[in-house]
Point group: C2
Amino acid sequence: MNAGGLLCAKYGVTRESVLALNVVLASGELMEVGHRTVKGVTGYDLCALMIGSEGTLGIIVEATLKLRPAITGEVPTIGAYFAGVRDAADASAAVTAAGIRPAIMELLDRNMLVAASNATGVDLASQGNTYLLIQTDGADARGEAERILELVAPLATSAELTLDPESAATLVDVRRRGFPALEAMGAMLVEDCAVPRSRMADMFERVEAIAAKYDVFIACPAHAGDGNLHPTFVFEGSAAAVPDEIWQSAGELFEAALELGGTLSGEHGIGLLKRRWLGAELGDTQLALQRHIKAVFDPKGILNPGKMFPQEHPVSPSGFREVYGSRADN
Amino acid sequence: MNAGGLLCAKYGVTRESVLALNVVLASGELMEVGHRTVKGVTGYDLCALMIGSEGTLGIIVEATLKLRPAITGEVPTIGAYFAGVRDAADASAAVTAAGIRPAIMELLDRNMLVAASNATGVDLASQGNTYLLIQTDGADARGEAERILELVAPLATSAELTLDPESAATLVDVRRRGFPALEAMGAMLVEDCAVPRSRMADMFERVEAIAAKYDVFIACPAHAGDGNLHPTFVFEGSAAAVPDEIWQSAGELFEAALELGGTLSGEHGIGLLKRRWLGAELGDTQLALQRHIKAVFDPKGILNPGKMFPQEHPVSPSGFREVYGSRADN
């Protein structure tokens, strides 16, 4: 795992907090990688190689983590509504461009806002089309929040700053309950593409166009602080049998993310669901190198077999229909 | 390179700021690794593997870096003198333990302080035995500096906080000119071990004991904010012909660093000088894996040949005398 979440906007993903790992290798040997010191550069960084390797190089049994001082001061929270997703994406890009680093900057598109409002009974959906939730922390938390409000308000239909912890907790809770709310609506497939933050508005437009083209339901919340979108398909039936048009839509989503300079996965990884597209992002040369590295660590292929790497007949993203017939690959 | 420097205490080493790299492989192919997005987790992190690989896996020809907003506010600077290096190390450990993250926290031991004072004409050496230079930046820079002063002063013989940029620049300049000052005294060999910050005082004692045992001159400045010491040998003659007792001292230094939970190299890497000790830190299993990875990227051994890996007859640190006769290994 190289897990993310709401606070990555300021504090980064798991990788940034791992100093050392104990790993059981395919041979059964225990190996320690990384350093228990803050700095260390002896040989190749196998600790970084292990993080996000999805159990395909070894089994992590112990981790040494960096700690940060807990946040003790106030955490001002901004809730802002926008006429559409482009305005909200532009507002978050403006915050980033100003060099301010909020702890949380989450975007809820129309579909997620409606689902979360219905599920929680906190009716944000009637107050605007698209919602941006921003929280700051640290020594200059209030000053940063005030500067953010100045940047965001001109693009918003309404925007409010609260210092009250209870009101803030309610707003954050609406975001946290968004995914369960979508899940309650039907079968769900969550995607995880990331694009440069300046291209987020473009990516939202591509998501809307793809949803319209295939007539599928996509809710699209985003960790706007780091350009990580979670286009989330909701459909009738079972998540074990994803309909054709959803896979086609997902394929076009990934193509769009790559075209915009982005990536297949911001934080979830590849697993089974995305392995068919991995080659399209990495290219043949890097994919071959990665397979060789896998073979160095796991010559018999016993570690999390089948995960991450495309099967023997890799296909281009636009050709994914060819292998799609095999449900075992999903 | 995974370069460091004075500001790593707060801002980390090079790795933390690299998003993507273009690399020319041994085959002559150009490969892009990493992501131009803030987050990304597709396949193994070959970008992290490349950083600090010392040119042994490929040649980096382009890098995409994260930017941080420039510091515009005041940078309060503290200069503190101590009766000895243990008090100074304890003072810096107290700052770390309090959860304060200064931008700069540099320790100058007696030998470096004298050399730097003589060279710059800024006579810090007559004001105390050991010197600690601390600088804070960011929104709460002054508040942090005041709290640091409260922590440091009880352990110091004297300590002063200045907000005057010119005085601060003079103090930082003394540190920056320390190495050139040592270099002017004779031939120089700079080491680069790192230990957990809580063990810094112990490591300084080991350095002093080793200098006494072999009757060699070691100045030992440290990036105290991240536990990275630079024991620096100065000797008569030429850096191309390092005397036996210096190599023996260096070997004992590394053994001491490893015993204290540390590492051979905080930021400089392995190169030729430290390759004989790499196996002692990594262990046989990891060293073998690293050699296999090297072979995947560079089957013909044409990329920076001879660097980083010990030659065919690896030795334990205490056995390094056996291969020491071969100067080609230095």
